[in-house]
């Protein structure tokens, strides 16, 4: 069965420090992975998806099929990055686009 694991419930860094939010997945098919973010008092929103190979707000994520990981990275964290981050797995085929989410990581960036 598919599964997404985010091993860190909480992550704290200081402003300007590098940050890495870990995500590991378990899926027998070809995975498509996403990072969603929820800022305080806002709704869940898409941050980035691996097929786009894009950098959003300075964040990047590389899919590593060998390690079944999709870690989110940013070289210099900012206070406004403080939020809840969810890694999510999309399964194609007959799943119609439903997402399997990890438990989330609360990132706090201290001034």
């Amino acid at each position: 069965a598919q599964r997404v694991t985010q091993p860190e419930k909480l992550l704290s860094v200081f402003k300007g420090a590098p940050v890495e939010l870990k995500c590991n997945y378990s899926y027998s098919g070809s995975p498509e992975l996403f990072w969603y973010v929820q800022y305080s008092r806002q709704r869940l929103q898409l941050l980035l998806r691996h097929i786009s190979r894009e950098s959003i707000k300075g964040f990047t994520a590389d899919l590593n099929k060998g390690e079944t990981s999709f870690h989110l990275k940013k070289p210099f964290a900012q206070e406004e990055d403080s939020a809840m981050y969810y890694c999510a797995l999309f399964m194609g085929g007959t799943s119609y686009g439903k997402l399997t989410f990890g438990q989330g990581t609360i990132l706090t960036v201290h001034p």
Binding site: R43, L46, R49, Y86, G92, Y96, G97, K98, L99
Partner: protein, 115 residues
């Protein structure tokens, strides 16, 4: 509208009561999803609609949960004979179409508390 709208934002009910949660997706969005998010957990899939057709209800936890989207727009998630374990945030998401290329847009959710 500007985005997915859910109502009510908060709902408190006594155990055993029935509740109905509403989702108004972005206009023109074919796909609609319901997720359940327990405290401290990530969202978990409940059910999926493509227009008015409910194509996947594999995530509904029991037959007390029922969802409909009769005209292919607004959707209602109904929970009968609520139990304390039903307490959670219920999220609705819509997308232009099914599949990878279309991102899901989430509403603010309904926070359901069962006393």
């Amino acid at each position: 509208g500007a985005g997915v709208s859910q109502s009510p934002r908060y709902k408190v009910a006594k155990r055993g009561q029935d509740v109905a949660l509403r989702c108004d997706p972005i206009s023109g969005h074919v796909s609609l999803f319901w997720y359940q998010q327990a405290l401290g957990q990530g969202p978990e899939f409940l059910t999926y609609f493509q227009n008015e057709a409910q194509l996947d209800k594999s995530g509904l936890p029991s037959d007390r949960f029922f969802a409909e989207r009769p005209e292919g727009s607004v959707s209602t998630l109904k929970i009968q004979r609520t139990q304390q374990e039903d307490s959670a945030v219920y999220l609705c998401a819509s997308s232009l179409a099914a599949g990878l290329g279309q991102p899901q847009h989430f509403g603010d959710g309904t926070r359901l508390s069962i006393l």
